[in-house]
Symmetry: C4
Subunit: 242 residues, 4 copies
Amino acid sequence: MANEDEIREKLAVSSRILTMKGLIGLYGHVSAYDPDTGRVYVTPGAGSDRANVQPEEMFVFTTAGEKLSGEGRLAAEWPIHTAIHALRPDALAVAHLHAPYSTLFSIAKREFRPVTLNGAMAGLGSGLPLFEELGLVTKVEQGQRLAKELGSHRAILMLGYGSAVVGSSVEDLIHACLTLEDNAIKIYQAAVLGEVRSFTPEECEVIYNKRMPFGVDAAWQYFTRQESRWGRQPETSWHPLE
Amino acid sequence: MANEDEIREKLAVSSRILTMKGLIGLYGHVSAYDPDTGRVYVTPGAGSDRANVQPEEMFVFTTAGEKLSGEGRLAAEWPIHTAIHALRPDALAVAHLHAPYSTLFSIAKREFRPVTLNGAMAGLGSGLPLFEELGLVTKVEQGQRLAKELGSHRAILMLGYGSAVVGSSVEDLIHACLTLEDNAIKIYQAAVLGEVRSFTPEECEVIYNKRMPFGVDAAWQYFTRQESRWGRQPETSWHPLE
Amino acid sequence: MANEDEIREKLAVSSRILTMKGLIGLYGHVSAYDPDTGRVYVTPGAGSDRANVQPEEMFVFTTAGEKLSGEGRLAAEWPIHTAIHALRPDALAVAHLHAPYSTLFSIAKREFRPVTLNGAMAGLGSGLPLFEELGLVTKVEQGQRLAKELGSHRAILMLGYGSAVVGSSVEDLIHACLTLEDNAIKIYQAAVLGEVRSFTPEECEVIYNKRMPFGVDAAWQYFTRQESRWGRQPETSWHPLE
Amino acid sequence: MANEDEIREKLAVSSRILTMKGLIGLYGHVSAYDPDTGRVYVTPGAGSDRANVQPEEMFVFTTAGEKLSGEGRLAAEWPIHTAIHALRPDALAVAHLHAPYSTLFSIAKREFRPVTLNGAMAGLGSGLPLFEELGLVTKVEQGQRLAKELGSHRAILMLGYGSAVVGSSVEDLIHACLTLEDNAIKIYQAAVLGEVRSFTPEECEVIYNKRMPFGVDAAWQYFTRQESRWGRQPETSWHPLE
């Protein structure tokens, strides 16, 4: 991520894509870390207009959790981002999702295993941990405990309400968020039909080695195009709380 | 709620939000109580244009069930509102919903427990009672029995067709309606995956104490904005009967 | 139904409502019977533009199955309509639906029982029969066997693909079609949660006596209004085959 | 298929229909074979604008897998198409789908059997094989093994991500793709309700003989009309990964 303008622009677009896809809604947010300056950029919080997030709306923090700038509605759970960026230098982008199907795995007692090719390629081979502390993550220390439990995983589930997902870039993050949710819905639906076949870590390795090298870029190209012509209309019927 | 104009305006908006989200459809309605005048304001009934409800369309009642004003299609089940407002002075707003997922808990023998953070924060810790009388609530005495069974709960399920939900304000009510439905869909979906973890009343307390203090206002801001740009188009594919 | 113009107009509107709601799609059709002339009017068949059906597109038959007029794409299964109208003089309107959830009860071995108030009021108390002949109903004799099995029921399921529903008027038919589908989806969803409580014929009677007398008209008013502002756009994601 | 222009046009339309219906999304593609010239035409790959595919965007191959022309984003899994066209001269059209419900049968251990009339008519009587090799089919030899396992079936499931479907024409292929997905969703949904009744090969034969002879053409007419007025807007809420 070359500079601040690019980071802000990509965060705004990615936040609108996640809104369009119903993964972030009212309560989620996205962040990116700039290793050159040590700054963390976070999209705005609940009540803001997620279908129209703009680059200038970002809040800026240090990884220690000091707010440097930003006005308007601050995300109550910003410590999720600063803590993960502090502990995971490989994770240049982090999303806190309220994704309808992934969240089920923070409610039902069922392991989140890779069952789709994309899931296998996205590093889900070792499953996802569940952060079991009660309530919102609004304190630095809570964020640090969450980041520690995340460890080297791709994502962590948060009891009763969502998840945190990491990516090596904003593009990789968006691909991972969509992939995890797709993997979640497929487990949910396949469970009705019979025994569900998930991929072992060794099988994930084989699948990963046969991937399209341009897969993440192709998805970014596809969904940014979709977002650019999105009508920004809300759903007219019920879908899970945003 | 400062005055009649504000009450009427908020009721109209909240009714359109519930229509947009598919929770009220053809048969639901919303009411608000003005403690200064003792009046109950109720949105219009079946057959009216729920996507375009306006402030001047409200029906006005006393809590004893005397109709003071209102023209057009009166809600057949208006006694739900007058009876609850009479018995629950803390409930300044009441909705009768035909919400697709909450209603399942009035059909299947399964307890409605809090499984989401929002559910835990919305006062679902003690579960929801089920009103088992057969048929529509069109008489004052039926409304009174319903209000009595509601007791101090956040909501009551109505056998085979819906629910009544209460809020300390119109804003709090809308947040509660959306939260209950989200909690309902999450139980429904998680049930397929395995044992469902619900929060105990004590856990709900812990979660409530970590909430965003501005949560209800943030949701109101978010959904009124959504509603203001809603296309008012009906669904083009099947969704539950409105 | 006073005259031919009115019958044709109501059939066109009702066919567009069922298209909008995803109950008729590519393969369903609707008919009405004029007792004054003995004529049966049937909407056009597969391949025609169901979102834009017009009054002049109807095919006209005798109840014996003689085609009197109509050009374009004739519904292959027109004998469903002529046979039912011949045997059920109370059924002034008949729909052949490919409704996504009702159809499940022609595939899974599960009884279709009333579980919603609307279902209880719509005469589902005695359940629905299943017509088990294989394949499309394209012959007069098949239609007659179907009509015989329908008997005095509100509807009959057709093995592996749909149903036939009857109404005392076009308005009553539309209300019944939407009500049956809602009842079907509710059984389908409640089944995941636990034991499903259905209403006995005696309970249905009690519920029916507490109904809104203007219920059918309110629904007709509501859905014709919706249809008049429908964008006529198809679904952009998967929904069951039309 | 009379000539190259017609093949290219039909492929573009069919690809847009599958996009509109959510069966092809980001990763699927369609092909057609011209027996007069021995050429295989394939729609573009991941990252391209599937809602707006045009005739000039096709890639052209020999059945041996030699690329003759085409620019832009080549489908990584083109060998699926060339290999099937080489082995199945009756299959003038082939689709690689990432269809949300059919794919479940490549994850859950459950047989894909015909349960709908359309499924019975589409040649699903003998069920569908599952190709169990791990990872994307990007090599000619993989495509050949896939084609061999497909054998004379209507389609083959691909472990953890999709399917390949064949048709005697582009029109027949589109009908088959929609029919298979509808059959898949019906099994998925009916499974919740109880024992699922599927048709035996003998029953499929009976049903096939009672089909509408114009069924494939009617569907093509219907869905090309739908596609022509499609708004090309993406989904605003979650649906399976495209």
